[in-house]
Symmetry: none
């Protein structure tokens, strides 16, 4: 029996075949994310998750220690999608300011795509036992680090004022999350892209130095020119 320890949850599945484990877990977690998001963690029965995933209730316990494990995996799934999407969308951009802006835009869009799941990640951490909560915090910090890096570069280059990077990061992140958390309020007034531009307006005013602003204007002008020319 070649036991299979999950790198994050540190749980050894009963099942041997690695590939099967990966696939089953994905299947089960997908169902869990849906249901936990829709109805909340405590309102959702393991039975429901099983039904939605198209497996038996018993099977879940071969891939997951207990219900809380399922929540942990679900939240990590959401956080991972952040960490995966942003670099993908931003990787090729070399201009630090443009990259920072693109990262913000991407974050907002990912949140929009997974609105319910974002709320889940936001609200249900408290339902985890402390040990598991640490894992979430670590993952969260990891995503933030990504954004923080982009901001730090801008500060280092004198494009952003020397604000506290972590605070600034957290502002961006919260702004993105707010789209999900207060969708019921915001969606009445703007669509996602307008929301993003409003956010950028605020943040750039808050952060840009003179030099940063000048640079941005030039870039934007160039972009506008390109757009106009085409």
């Amino acid at each position: 029996m070649t036991e299979q320890a999950d790198p994050v949850t540190d749980f050894v599945s009963q099942v041997g075949d690695e590939e099967l484990v990966r696939q089953r877990r994905a299947q089960i977690v997908a169902a869990a994310v849906q249901l936990f998001s829709e109805q909340g963690y405590y309102r959702t029965k393991v039975q429901d998750v099983a039904k939605r995933a198209g497996v038996s209730a018993g099977l879940i316990y071969q891939y997951v220690r207990d219900k809380e494990d399922l929540l942990l995996l679900s939240i990590l799934d959401v956080l991972d999608s952040y960490t995966a999407e942003i670099p993908r969308a931003v990787g090729h951009i070399s201009d630090p300011l443009a990259r920072c802006v693109a990262a913000f835009r991407t974050y907002c869009r990912v949140v929009d795509q997974r609105r319910d799941a974002t709320i889940l990640a936001y609200r249900s951490t408290k339902s985890l036992a402390p040990a598991r909560r640490q894992i979430i915090k670590r993952a969260e910090r990891q995503t933030n680090q990504l954004i923080a890096g982009y901001i730090q570069t801008c500060i280092d280059l004198g494009l952003f004022r020397a604000v506290d990077t972590e605070l600034a990061t957290y502002q961006l992140v919260m702004y993105a999350h707010a789209w999900a958390l207060k969708y019921w309020q915001f969606a009445k007034r703007f669509d996602l892209e307008t929301y993003i531009e409003h956010g950028l307006d605020l943040f750039l005013h808050a952060l840009l130095t003179e030099r940063g602003r000048a640079l941005l204007d030039r870039t934007t002008a160039a972009a506008t020119a390109r757009t106009a020319a085409s």
Copy 2:
């Protein structure tokens, strides 16, 4: 048969004496806020709340319809403390900019005083049935209106840029909440007052117009002078 309906929850208490109802409800809700904050709503048993409040489990049901009602009352209790504290701290300030700043500072301080409860209000709304969730949303909007009013005045006077008031409001509010939500992270690096000043720095940069900035500098200079003189 002087039955006593809660103005908000629309629940008629079994108990007649108005004053007693007020007192008992306060006592029970205080215990509930503590426990729900510490352990989460679902993890907390009604028995626990009763014990903490120093009453019997049965008594709770003379003042509250069911456990969910207890959560509703608990969240409202927190939101109400916001709506009550801010005007109190700000009422006498006539300068619109100073008032706006003071409101923000107060909000942050109230959140700090009721950190756990703030998290409760933030995270547990999803545990309520839709009808009750509406009540929360209404109360939330009410507090926001307060802040929004202060910001709007500054915009009307040309001190703030003509940004979307609601979004700006929400930024301030979220910044305040973040102190509670990410206390584990922030508290390692600054104390509350530093956190507040950082926030002000960001927001004022984001919002102030030239005129606003000039005015603020003058005011601050005067205050500094006064402080220095004393």
Copy 3:
């Protein structure tokens, strides 16, 4: 403290004044009979009885040992009304056959007047502890004895066949009760008086001897004549 033992329930009320005890008990039992009849014994709360009786819940326990006592008293109240009404309606009739018929008619009418209460007496005896159930049985037998006496006389006089008196009695009694128990079914097809006449038809056919029948015919003829003459 002149304590006051109830002759039947053998319960000593906390309250001294005999007259008050009688009055309060009547008041409380009246409410209890209503509610137990309408909603059933277990569904009815002592609080409800108190409210209906216009007294406090605590007061009930000064006149009654416990809730079951209330049921006992309620059932006895119904049974007593049988035992009281029949002799009153029949006392002056000297003709044994006519008396027997009148008793039956009265029984049916009393049942009709207290339909819900009859059902209560019928159905709820099982809710009493054995000791109290005995008291009910005794009271029930007492009413039956009344009817049985009238029947026995008719048998002794050769008007009724020598059937088992107890069984015959029980038949009459059940027929009367059935009006209450199956009212939902019978009321669609006849009114009370028709129901009574159908019953008499059956019983007289079952019980009358030749002599009895002849006698009855003569009496009826006479009555008809009297009616016709008037």
Copy 4:
């Protein structure tokens, strides 16, 4: 997802296997009938039923919606045994009078075999919510229809007087039930068969026409002759 709806209660069992559902329900209802009969519905805990049935408390809720459902099923079980037994015992008898008599005898015997359960059916209908009470009434009517049919035939053939069939039916039925309801009183004086014969005596006197009586005497004489000859 082969879900299993009970034809009468309209409840879909959580369990798929039809045969298992049938068996488990029988097992659980048997226990419920016993306990409800012995101790009454409200005095009996679901736990008790589970223990008596030899299953866990939780399991019951896979086959039954709630405790009241258990009562409904229990009462129906009794009523069904009436509707099943009588035709079985009477089916081969062609003589209408003999059949009617046999039906009555069978009814009394079934009641005797399920004395406690009969009382349950009689007394506990009130504990059901109106919708479920209707189901009972329907089942009850169905049994009565059986008897009513036999009586009607005798009336149509001029063997019975033209009494109201429904009333006559109800008399027979109540007489049978009375054996259960007043067993404590009757059993001191006769055994079941004597009770039955007394009942027949009463009913036949009440119902038979001249022709019917003549026919019966002949049949009885023949039977006596046969018996004597053997």
